[in-house]
């Protein structure tokens, strides 16, 4: 473990001084996971690739400022999320429209999620309207609360809540539409 940390430190220092080899090592180490993150925030894999690229450029530019406190993965991940958010902000003008209507939850069994793969789930998330997708990711995966999301996205807490509910709603419906049959199958096999 100590060895790994030492190696990582070496890679970080290498990146900070612009060493190409170290940059490639760092990329190889984190790219797959970060691509996973970018995919969740993007509408398709092309956008995810763009964000991943932009994110890593930022990582390499700023790695000199990484203080070796806290996890490097968390730091890189935060950069990826920020890049995705920034892209969203640029493409969709934010405005403080109050959107607090609460939607009726769909009667979809939670088990349905067990039957589908992460890849399939991401494909469904990518199809969410952009703002729902952002709020959903920030809340569910990043574990931010509505207050934080509202600040990050410059929307009201109410909008954040409503968007989240709406995102869940659409998500479940889509999963049911697409993978409803699988649910039955998996139920059979399970039971």
């Amino acid at each position: 473990m100590r060895k790994i940390l030492e190696d990582l430190k070496k890679i970080i220092n290498g990146c900070a001084s612009g060493n190409k080899r170290a940059q490639e090592q760092l990329y190889q180490l984190f790219a797959p996971k970060m691509f996973g993150v970018c995919l969740r925030y993007a509408k398709d894999s092309t956008e995810a690739e763009d964000n991943l690229q932009e994110g890593f450029i930022k990582v390499f530019q700023n790695i000199g400022r990484f203080r070796h406190e806290g996890s490097l993965e968390g730091w890189i991940r935060r950069i990826m999320v920020n890049v995705s958010l920034e892209k969203f902000r640029k493409q969709h003008v934010m405005h403080p429209v109050e959107d607090v209507s609460i939607y009726e939850g769909q009667n979809v069994s939670d088990d349905i999620l067990a039957g589908i793969s992460a890849k399939e789930l991401i494909a469904v998330i990518q199809q969410l309207p952009p703002r729902y997708r952002m709020v959903f990711n920030l809340f569910v995966i990043e574990g931010m609360n509505h207050q934080e999301i509202s600040e990050e996205m410059k929307i009201t807490v109410g909008t954040s809540k409503s968007n989240l509910a709406r995102a869940r709603d659409i998500l479940k419906r889509r999963v049911k539409e697409l993978y409803g049959d699988i649910e039955k199958t998996s139920n059979y096999t399970a039971g």
Binding site: G18, K20, Q23, E24, Y27, A31, P32, K33, F35, G36, L39, R40, K43, T46, E47, A48, E49, L52, Q53, F56, I57, F60, Q61, K90, Q91, H92, V93, H95, V97, D99, S101, G105, D110, L113, A114, A118, K119, L121, I122, Q127, P129, P130, F139, V140, I141, G143, R168, I170, K172, R173
Partner: protein, 475 residues
């Protein structure tokens, strides 16, 4: 609530550790982008180093030029690091600014493209009545929204874009029960947005480009000179004056960034001086001698010129020490006389040339500059600083005597180096006449950094103040 949390948990579990191998071209583009930045940084760095070098050169030259040594030196030391400090912000904020502009533009285009499409899709839905009601509400919503925005003085583009976004979210509410369709539209819209963005990014305004210019420069030239004692003893005229002249040329500039430009070109310039002494007969041995006295033209009222000369040299001709060096004359100029200074026994070989009129010495240069220009203000009226060095090739080297016989070319100055270097500092004010043309007035100071005469007895450095007036064309 707990049920929802469970869903969240299971989604999080599924996705948290999710990783997927990105395609290999991503790393390739990252690498090439990093390489590009390295190069750019190097270029910017080189730019600042040369700018600093110009400043240092200018100070050295200025110090050398004015003969003051003490005060300027600390300023030099302070000047040098200053550009490096500002290096990063000088580039980054500009880049960002451009990106934002492009995005706003993209937004505007999106609306043009999508607005009609949105309307069409609404009419296609079977919920016309509901749609209309919603549209009305939507309209008032956006109006209200726009009203608040306009107070905050948002640009028209932003307002249009905001209206569009408002449309978008309201439409999605209306068609709640027609979910799939909305999602398709979102995807379609987003594809359009993305395509527009891509196009615009490709067309992203270039900060690099070429500018050509042509200038004429009325100016005044003079010199700073010093001579060793033995040389000075044989150069008896004591003062000379600079002269006005005209130069000009063409220039080419390359923009390396929003503010920085590198310039070269080719200029023609003249430097020189005139000399006369009013004769004061018999006052001293440097003055007009007895032999000249009978000629009424040589009185204190008229301008005339006299100086020691050397005749009977093995090379032939007549040699005369002047400010810029030894003038070699083939023969005695018309209207001039040479008298032996026989009254001074120490100086039997020294002879004196005297004439009415004025003596002048002119050097013509073709200068190839390497300047850096820094734009302080880039509006309709722009202000620039420029500085750099010139390679000056001497193409003309003549001495003239302007007396009652007209202007005669009496010879040339010996030991003048063909290639000399000069420094230039200037301020440019330009006025944009259109998209491509601009008119500019640039006072420039040009001074030779070392003596253009290779004779160790003579230190002669011409300088020139020119008012470069001309036009520039930007591609």
């Amino acid at each position: 609530m707990s049920k929802k949390l469970n869903i969240d948990d299971s989604i999080r579990e599924k996705l948290d550790g999710f990783s997927a191998a990105p395609p290999s071209h991503v790393w390739d583009s990252i690498q090439s982008q990093l390489d590009g930045q390295r190069k750019k940084r190097r270029m910017v760095y080189a730019g600042w180093i040369s700018a600093a070098a110009v400043v240092v050169l200018a100070f050295i030259a200025g110090w050398y030029f004015s003969g003051k040594t003490v005060i300027e030196e600390p300023t030099m030391a302070e000047q040098q690091p200053a550009p490096e400090k500002t290096q990063e912000p000088a580039v980054l904020p500009q880049d960002k600014g451009i990106e934002i502009e492009v995005d706003q533009l993209a937004g505007a285009q999106d609306i043009n493209a999508i607005d009609t499409k949105t309307n069409k899709t609404i009419s296609e839905t079977r919920m016309l009545a509901e749609g209309e009601r919603a549209a009305e509400q939507n309209k008032s919503d956006s109006e209200q929204f726009i009203a608040t925005r306009s107070v905050e003085s948002y640009s028209l583009l932003e307002r249009i874009e905001a209206m569009f976004t408002a449309n978008q979210s309201n439409v999605s509410l209306v068609e709640k029960s027609n979910e799939t369709k909305i999602e398709e539209r979102f995807t379609a819209d987003e594809m359009l947005i993305a395509a527009n963005l891509r196009n615009l990014n490709e067309q992203k305004q270039q900060e690099h480009g070429w500018i050509i210019g042509a200038q004429v420069s009325p100016g005044y030239s003079s010199h700073s000179a010093s001579h060793n004692d033995s040389y000075a003893q044989n150069m008896t005229y004591e003062s000379d004056n600079g002269g006005s002249n005209i130069g000009g040329g063409i220039s080419v500039q390359y923009k390396t960034g929003k503010r920085l430009r590198v310039e070269s070109g080719i200029y023609y310039a003249k430097d020189g001086q005139k000399a006369d002494n009013s004769f004061n007969l018999f006052a001293s041995d440097k003055d007009m001698l007895y032999g000249a006295a009978p000629d009424a033209a040589y009185d204190g009222m008229n301008t005339g010129f006299s100086n020691l000369v050397q005749t009977g040299r093995s090379e032939g001709g007549i040699a005369m020490n002047s400010t810029a060096g030894v003038i070699e004359m083939k023969s005695t100029p018309r209207g001039a006389n040479i008298s032996a200074n026989l009254e001074n026994s120490n100086d039997v070989t020294a002879q004196r040339l005297y004439s009415d009129g004025e003596f002048s010495q002119v050097f013509e240069f073709v200068e190839v500059p390497l300047y850096l220009r820094y734009s302080l203000l880039d509006k309709k009226i722009g202000i620039e600083l420029l500085g750099g060095i010139n390679a000056g090739f001497v193409i003309g080297n003549n001495a003239y005597l302007d007396n009652s016989y007209g202007v005669q070319n009496i010879g040339s100055t010996a030991d003048i180096s063909t290639l000399n270097f000069s420094g230039t500092l200037g301020v440019g004010v330009n006025y944009a006449l259109g998209k491509h043309f601009s008119f500019a007035l640039e006072p420039r100071l040009n001074y030779y950094l070392s003596s253009i005469n290779s004779n160790p007895d003579v230190n002669y450095r011409p300088y020139r103040i020119g008012f470069y007036t001309g036009v520039y064309y930007e591609f």
